[in-house]
């Protein structure tokens, strides 16, 4: 990749575009009330989009060439189980990381 102009066009375009996406509702809707049906859907944004983003990465991690991997699956279940049980983000995070390292070391 040697074309500097192209690189800077992408960086600038991404900067403007990403800010636009982040600002569109916060900035333009602001304090105006949103309809109840929309709010009802927005309540489930986080529990929909984040798991949807993660699911393929869990089942088909790029690091193993897309093959399901016991260490990453184990880490997923640990983070999820402990997170649900304790309602604590850090406890889930810690359990997932420990499980990942332990299983990777154990399975080689």
């Amino acid at each position: 990749m040697t074309d500097r102009l192209e690189l800077w066009l992408v960086i600038a375009g991404l900067a403007v575009g990403s800010f636009g996406l982040r600002f569109v509702f916060l900035g333009l809707v602001g304090n105006r009330p949103m309809p109840e049906w929309l709010l009802r859907h927005l309540r489930y944004t986080a529990v929909s989009i984040l798991p949807a983003l993660v699911a393929p990465l869990v089942l088909w991690p790029a690091a193993t060439g897309g093959e399901p991997d016991p260490a990453r699956l184990g880490a997923t279940f640990a983070a999820l189980g402990v997170g649900v049980a304790t309602r604590n983000v850090f406890a889930g995070l810690f359990s997932g990381a420990i499980t990942l390292f332990a299983l990777m070391a154990w399975l080689g």
Partner: protein
Amino acid sequence: MTTTAKSAYWKGVRDAAPFFFIVSPFALLFGVVATEAGLNVFEALAFSVAVIAGAAQFTALQLLQDDAPAIIALVSALAVNLRMAMYSASLTPYLGAAPLWKRAFVAYFLVDQSYGLSIGTFERHRDWSMSQKLAYFFGVVSPVCPFWYVFTVVGALIGEAIPPSLGLDFALPITFIAMVAPMLRSLPHLAACFTAVSASLLLTWLPLNLGLLAAGLLGMIAGAAVELRTMRGHDVAQGEEAEA
């Protein structure tokens, strides 16, 4: 800052502190990959400051490295970032009343971690004032975003491959799982999550990351539908469902 705002700020810092250990290696990795792709330190840093979104940055870089046209790299990376618009909409009921310039700062610092922690906390603390909510948000940002820049530079300076055996690729998924797990506290939330995960796995063949967005929307529809059913009783829900 008032006392309550100050304590909300520090609560945000404490809640987000563990993410330092997730975001920093991820930024380091971006710096390394950027250098390998031929970017200099300044270009790598400019990328991180301008975009401040890991997944989109990796996507754009990957495509540029594969000699894809700039417009394809741009559109694909923005598609990865479309979820930010959903975050923006989701936070608007809580932060929409803040002054415009503060909302602009919130928008710039709206990343997965600041959104995930803030929305969870705002839902639990309905009595918080605007200054408390904003203080919390920027508290969460403090141990996360500045280090995104710093470790991009460190990674670009090191410029050596980090061994994949370290499992760093999985830092991001574990983060998201740990953030979502405590939110799975009701039937509608479970329905949204289950639907989104199933749809996401079935729709990976869609181009430009559209599968992710479709899965997210389907999850939100499922959550809203189950909420109507469980909250207002069977009869009303059936009527509303027919209309939806």
